[in-house]
């Protein structure tokens, strides 16, 4: 049987947050929330885990730095060392002060672009990808909870409807769940 989904629309972020708290404590699993801006405090309520993009950025930065250091060594010390203005170029460490600016820039370059690309791929927001927000006003001034029945085994659809109606919801819609991306 195909999955069904319930969309509960609210017109205010605080209202949605309080309603989400109520529903979750009532045993409903909220699959996702669509909003026109980030609702602070919604993540622990609906169980969104911390992203590891920050850690990824750090590792990418280290990679950039390592590549830069390797590049300096191979290019300026091993392959064709040149006496430029008397700067010592016998060892990498002696010459390193001159390489600091580019080391820094390369680190930032890798960290920033690597993280940005990872972010776009993880969010599946790439040129040409379709949008899958349920209503166009979710990017304007409406806040929508997505409740998938396949993730709510202990409850029937009508039970969930009842619980939602106890909150200050504006509109409820139930339909078949179609995965767009």
């Amino acid at each position: 049987m195909a999955d069904r989904v319930i969309y509960a629309t609210y017109d205010d972020d605080e209202t949605l947050k309080n309603s989400a708290k109520k529903l979750v404590s009532g045993g409903v699993h909220i699959s996702d929330v669509f909003s026109p801006f980030p609702i602070h405090g919604i993540d622990p309520i609906i169980g969104v885990k911390h992203t590891r993009l920050g850690i990824a950025a750090f590792m990418l930065g280290i990679t950039g730095l390592a590549l830069a250091v390797l590049g300096f060594k191979l290019i300026m010390i091993d392959d064709w060392p040149m006496n430029i203005g008397g700067k010592p170029n016998f060892t990498l460490l002696e010459n390193y002060p001159a390489f600091v600016p580019i080391s820094f820039e390369f680190t930032v370059l890798f960290a920033a672009h690597g993280m940005a690309l990872l972010y776009l791929f993880r969010n599946k927001t790439l040129p040409g990808m379709p949008a899958d927000n349920p209503y166009p006003r979710t990017t304007d001034d409406r806040f929508v909870m997505e409740i998938r029945l396949s993730e709510n085994h202990g409850m029937s659809a009508s039970e969930i409807h009842t619980k939602i109606k106890e909150t200050s919801v504006i509109e409820i819609e139930e339909k078949d769940y179609v995965v767009i991306k």
């Binding site: 909003s35 919604i42 920050g54 300026m76 600016p101 820094f104 820039e105």
Partner: protein, 464 residues
């Protein structure tokens, strides 16, 4: 929910709702552009085209079409480069540094300031490219294995550090700006009526849907990018200052340059933001979002950085005497009394006196005064770079090599052309892209909106 003191001036004036914010920003994109926009764009594009023509003439005929000579090998080209890069830094500072300091007033201005950064850095980047002469072998600055024995670039040289710094700065600023734009493009996409607009903004918005997990990642990415972009502001302009500071020329070879240049960049950049924003808010009817408070805060930054620049000037003057180095003292005597004294005194008047006027509260809260002073500051900062570059090298160690520099029509044409191109890009940005950060502004509506502060906002006050 954050609470803000009731006596703080609101950041969003009037009775705005989330939908109002969307409407106010999207109205200018969806409606017909006012005639003034077409006229301004027309003029800007014509001037820009003239500049492009001058550049083609330069590339075809050679650097000899500029007023440079053996003594003065850098003049308007590098002055313009540093001027444009300096202007660019304000946008990143507003987006990145003010984000890290949790300054909510940045939200109404960061999108347009970042756009200014990107277009300014595009213009800046033109100059190192065209001043090479043989632009068609410009790829030689990249460390790519080659058939010349593998001839490598000189990593000891600040000119090369500049290549990496400016490229990194341009690309990271672009990414930071675009990632913030994605949710706002989605807003426009979901409202778009014409199929062309819908398709265009669908592609631009990358399929953004506003899911909680995606917003979670968005906030972390914004924070990390801000954290990366902040040291970029300081490092990039320090590296630009190294082009001079690592030389041996009196007037150039001084350790004060990195902080002096960075402060100067923020100074001129904020002045340019003021100029642009004061026109933008009137033209696009965004007075409720960009108002006296924003202008005043930016003027305070201008005052502080202008004072740092003023202190740097005095320090340089003092050290030129105190060091006992006769070449250094002469460099400064020449600046004040030599053939370019008019440039030096313009610089001093525009940069030292104008920011000090900001101590007066009435002046720093006056939009008209701000507009006028912001242009004065930008002119002053152009003269500063000109004075540093030309007056130092036209008379350095060897008097028999002393010479004068006069700009040619190509020098002037290219500079004016970059102004035209910059304004063309900016006008196109203002017409087709959301000039305010829609989703960010919505997050501060309840905290800092006027109707929420004075309790006249409709409903929802009982749901805390």
């Amino acid at each position: 929910m954050h609470k803000e003191s009731a006596i703080r001036e609101p950041l969003i004036l009037g009775h705005k709702t989330y939908h109002d914010i969307t409407e106010d920003v999207c109205r200018s994109i969806e409606g017909k552009a006012p005639k003034a926009w077409y006229i301004m764009l027309g003029i800007a594009m014509l001037v820009g085209l003239y500049g492009v023509g001058c550049i083609c003439y330069l590339l075809g005929t050679g650097i000899g079409t500029w007023g440079l000579n053996k003594t003065v090998e850098w003049a308007w080209d590098i002055t313009n480069f540093v001027w444009w890069v300096g202007i660019g830094h304000a946008g990143t500072l507003i987006s990145a540094v003010l984000l890290l300091f949790r300054q909510r007033w940045r939200m109404a201005i960061n999108r347009s300031a970042e756009a200014m950064t990107i277009f300014a850095v595009f213009m800046a980047g033109l100059f190192p490219l065209i001043h090479m002469g043989r632009l068609w072998v410009g790829y030689w600055v990249m460390p790519i294995p080659n058939q010349f024995g593998s001839l490598w670039v000189n990593f000891n040289s600040p000119l090369l550090w500049d290549v990496f710094a400016i490229s990194t700065y341009l690309s990271v600023s672009l990414v930071f700006w675009y990632i913030g734009l994605i949710p706002d493009f989605a807003t426009i996409r979901d409202r778009a009526k014409s199929p062309v607009a819908k398709k265009a903004y669908s592609i631009l918005s990358f399929g953004w849907s506003g899911r909680a997990k995606h917003w979670n990642r968005f906030e972390i990415v914004s924070l990390v990018l801000a954290g990366l972009a902040t040291p970029l502001v300081f490092s990039v302009h320090s590296i630009v200052s190294f082009d001079f500071a690592t030389s041996v020329i009196p007037g150039w070879h001084t350790t004060i340059f990195p902080p002096y240049f960075v402060a100067g960049a923020v100074f001129s950049g904020f002045a340019m933001v003021q100029t642009l924003l004061l026109i933008l808010r009137k033209g696009m009817k965004l007075e409720a979002y960009i108002h006296t408070k924003h202008v005043e805060y930016m003027n305070i930054v201008i005052m502080v950085t202008g004072s740092i620049v003023g202190v740097a000037y005095l320090t340089e003057l003092f050290i030129s005497w105190y060091s006992g180095v006769e070449y250094e003292s002469y460099a400064f005597i020449n600046r004040a009394t030599g053939p370019y004294w008019w440039a030096y005194w313009s610089m001093m008047t525009c940069n030292v006196i104008s920011p000090q006027l900001m101590w007066i509260r009435k002046l720093r809260r006056s939009l008209l005064f701000t507009f006028f002073i912001s242009i004065v500051v930008n002119i002053g900062m152009w003269f500063e770079r000109f004075v540093i570059i030309v007056t130092s090298i036209h008379r350095d160690y060897l008097p028999s090599a002393w010479s004068m520099f006069y700009p040619t029509w190509v020098d002037i044409g290219i500079f004016i052309g970059t102004l035209g191109l910059f304004f063309s890009f900016y006008l196109l940005f203002a017409r087709y892209f959301p000039v305010l950060a829609i989703s960010e502004l919505k997050t501060i509506l309840k905290i800092s909106g006027e109707s929420y502060k004075n309790g006249t906002a409709p409903g929802h006050n009982d749901h805390h």
